[in-house]
């Protein structure tokens, strides 16, 4: 149909025209004025407390203590079960969050502005590895780190970004792809590049040398620091693609640990959901698949723009880390994803694949026709609250939500 071809061409045009710039770090309540008291944003499509998985419950109770809404975790769980907190997806508020994805009013969020379209997207600051709230951690160590991010690091990073006029991200990602990152499970290069951009400005705006040293060490010690920036970048690129009549391009993929959800441009903001899959991967010493929680997080927004599992060919090292096979097979993941996408990104290319551009514009028609589900690189959380990350792996998006989306899409065109 000509309408679909024209609409999809426009969708890919908008994706490629996106010009994301990291411009600021500000409190979430300032970025999202509707984010009120006792409101908790989470990863994935909508879900209530009763259906939430263990780590997401752990993060909800932890953040309730962090915000001072309850005295302890037990009280927080009781209040959550009684409906005392308003739970909403990040995606409904121009935001995204990794794993549990918890966002509340006083947390600092990074601001990525898409200068080609004028929209903004938000994501919290990556907390680092180990016991962290995004993997369901909620003890004092976790909460104290969040307090430091809120009171010290976030304001300093925001001041630095404002002082330097922001960091253009499109070229930074292009360079990261040539340095072995795929921007989901490998962000070593882009985190280092971000530190190089940010360090001089951080030094200019921070009076206290110890505070500066701690901030620099925090970024330098976290290989995944850039992940949250990549996610806000992905959201900023995809939001202008929403709502194009006749477009079968996926605008968001997200998981809440229970359901996997997708949104499609031509069907507006409707979520099409199916049960999440269990990642297949490698586990940290002492843990196994029996400890793992099913797939979770808004981080699949990076696959939606052609990075992560779609750019596996750029990051052979990650293929081993996530248990996806030999490094020489990494390119096969990227080539396969090219079968369900509408084009390549000429600015984000992969040297090892003769500068093939990352597969761009997931078309639900191609997913259903080929039966090839999007490949996602992901971290794996422990299924119990309060423990944290136990491994990393690869997971497939469930085909059922693409079939459901296709039927609804056909209905909008009067074909069904």
């Amino acid at each position: 149909m000509d309408l679909i071809e024209r609409a999809n061409k426009e969708a890919v045009r908008r994706m490629l025209a996106g010009d994301p710039v990291l411009v600021d770090v500000i409190p979430a309540e300032q970025a999202i004025p509707t984010l009120g008291e006792r409101m908790i944003l989470h990863a994935g499509p909508p879900i209530d407390w009763a259906r939430m998985c263990g780590p997401m419950r752990g993060a909800v109770t932890g953040v309730a203590c962090f915000e001072g809404w309850t005295a302890n975790l037990e009280a927080a769980a009781e209040q959550a079960a009684a409906g005392a907190f308003a739970l909403h997806p990040n995606h409904h508020f121009d935001a995204v969050g990794p794993m549990t994805g918890i966002t509340t009013r006083s947390q600092p969020v990074m601001v990525v502005e898409n200068r080609a379209f004028g929209n903004r997207a938000y994501c919290t600051i990556n907390e680092g590895l180990g016991k962290v709230m995004r993997f369901g951690g909620n003890d004092e160590e976790v909460l104290n780190r969040l307090r430091w991010l809120r009171d010290d690091f976030g304001p300093a990073m925001g001041a630095a970004l404002r002082e330097m006029g922001g960091i253009p991200l499109k070229s930074l990602v292009a360079r990261g792809l040539t340095m072995g990152d795929e921007m989901h499970q490998r962000n070593v290069a882009c985190s280092g590049l971000t530190l190089r951009h940010l360090a001089p400005a951080l030094a200019r705006v921070t009076q206290d040398r110890d505070a500066l040293a701690r901030a620099l060490a925090f970024i330098g010690g976290n290989d995944q620091f850039f992940l949250n920036i990549a996610m806000a970048l992905g959201k900023a690129i995809m939001d202008p693609v929403r709502g194009i009549e006749g477009s079968s391009v996926v605008t968001a993929m997200a998981r809440n640990g229970t359901d996997f959800g997708i949104r499609v441009s031509g069907t507006g903001d409707t979520w099409f959901t199916a049960p999440v899959e269990m990642p297949e991967g490698l586990y940290f010493p002492g843990f196994s698949a029996a400890d793992a929680n099913p797939d979770m997080g808004d981080s699949t927004i990076v696959e939606t723009i052609g990075l992560g599992g779609f750019a596996m060919g750029a990051a052979p090292a990650v293929a081993g880390f996530v248990g996806a096979g030999a490094a020489s097979e990494a390119g096969n993941f990227t080539r396969t994803m090219a079968e369900i996408t509408l084009g390549e990104n000429p600015e984000w290319t992969i040297p090892a694949l003769d500068y093939f551009g990352v597969p761009t514009g997931i078309d639900i028609r191609l997913v259903v026709e080929t039966g090839l589900a999007p490949t996602i690189n992901t971290g794996i959380a422990h299924k119990e609250p309060g423990i944290g990350q136990v491994g990393a792996g690869v997971v497939r998006a469930p085909l059922a939500c693409f079939r459901e989306a296709l039927l609804a899409f056909a209905e909008t065109l009067g074909v069904l």
Binding site: M1, E5, R365, G371, L406, F409, A410, V415
Partner: protein
């Protein structure tokens, strides 16, 4: 001219030379042949929409 046709030639070639096999779909067929020393190229293929005729028809209407 010996009066033989092209199909006769193909028939003779098939019978007198080792088979060259291209296998579509089920990989186990290719593996079986490979284990018996037969040269085989496997093509990873599934019917459109997983073989669901209603979905395949819908995809066709949607220009896929």
């Amino acid at each position: 001219m010996d009066g033989s046709t092209m199909s006769d030639d193909i028939g003779k070639t098939l019978l007198n030379t080792p088979p060259k096999v291209v296998n579509l779909g089920l990989e186990s067929f290719a593996l079986e042949l490979s284990q018996q020393g037969v040269a085989v190229v496997h093509v990873d293929w599934t019917p459109p929409a997983g073989g669901d005729p209603a979905l395949a028809d819908l995809l066709s209407k949607l220009g896929a």
